[in-house]
Symmetry: C2
Subunit: 196 residues, 2 copies
């Protein structure tokens, strides 16, 4: 096998997701992932630290995109609008045409408590980074913390809505719609017919 | 030592919190906690499964109170108002006169990644229970999920505000105020001077 392995990362990720879905995360070994991808264990470890890393490798890139999007949002817009803009831009880039992979990844996480914990830590870390970025825009700390936590709550819900929707659905659209709904729901203005 | 140990639970909890703050969670043993409380290891294990359980023992009781509070909220009020009512009532009961213990507990959790993960899982489990309870009130699933996640976000922020405030501050008041702020922040109506 040559050292030049076209799209080794993508092949390893796809093989890992398939195996995690088929056999379960805990039952899958790195050797099996490499074999399924037609690559070596050594190549695996050139790209990923361990088999969990395949699932969380994109977290820091996503966070950087969200933070940049918030920092670059127009001056003077509301904190929650800056968060919505950052998450919308970042997720449009990250999840574009990746509905299938995202669904498999979520199924694996939902089936594995250890991975659920890691996912929650990832979102909490993202909320902290969002709050810090808002304060950097001059938003007061109390508003920044609340907009960050509420924004990450909306992100979670938007992601679930996007996954539950059609394979060609746009994540950016789900984000836009969910943040709009958040404004209504959080101020108690949801349609009356949905109340008890 | 007699089998009747007045307030063994409270003494064990206080001893554990003191030791976790002084020495760190990982460095503290159950034997040391029991000794500090003037009780035996056997008594410790009659009350708690392990040393982590001392910190999370109240989670299911809190969740039951929140769920009951939401289920019993007046018919026809907005989903987020039912969540605010449930969290307000539950936390008033749970945290009344416990500002000191709550602060120590939070310091221990903040210093220990394993405990942070457990705390995040606790909050995620609470959000799921809240969403289910809202659907039981006839709230549509999309609104229920969003009100639950946004409500838990507000709970986290309210708890932080209460801890940062004076020892005699009321948690129920922090909850009321934070949910009110959430309505403003989530719909982009925070004071203009806080924007960039």
């Amino acid at each position: 096998m040559s050292r030049w392995e076209p799209n080794a990362r993508g092949r390893l990720e796809q093989a890992a997701l398939e195996l995690y879905v088929e056999r379960g995360f805990e039952q899958t070994t790195v050797a099996e992932i490499a074999e399924r991808a037609g690559l070596t264990k050594r190549t695996f470890f050139r790209h990923y630290a361990d088999k969990r890393d395949v699932l969380f490798d994109g977290a820091s890139a996503l966070q950087a995109l969200v933070v940049d999007g918030i920092a670059d949002a127009p001056a003077g817009i509301a904190a929650i609008s800056a968060v919505a803009a950052g998450i919308g831009t970042a997720t449009a880039t990250t999840f574009e045409d990746r509905h299938g992979e995202a669904g498999k990844r979520q199924a694996v996480i939902d089936a594995t408590p250890e991975l659920q914990e890691r996912e929650l830590v990832k979102l909490a870390t993202l909320a902290t980074a969002v709050a810090r970025t808002l304060r950097g825009r001059g938003v007061d700390a109390r508003t920044a913390d609340l907009a960050a936590e509420a924004g990450i709550a909306a992100f979670k819900v938007a992601f679930g809505r996007w996954l539950a929707g059609p394979p060609d659905g746009k994540m950016a659209e789900a984000v836009r719609e969910t943040f709009e709904d958040l404004g209504h729901v959080a101020s108690g203005r949801e349609p009356e017919e949905s109340g008890a």
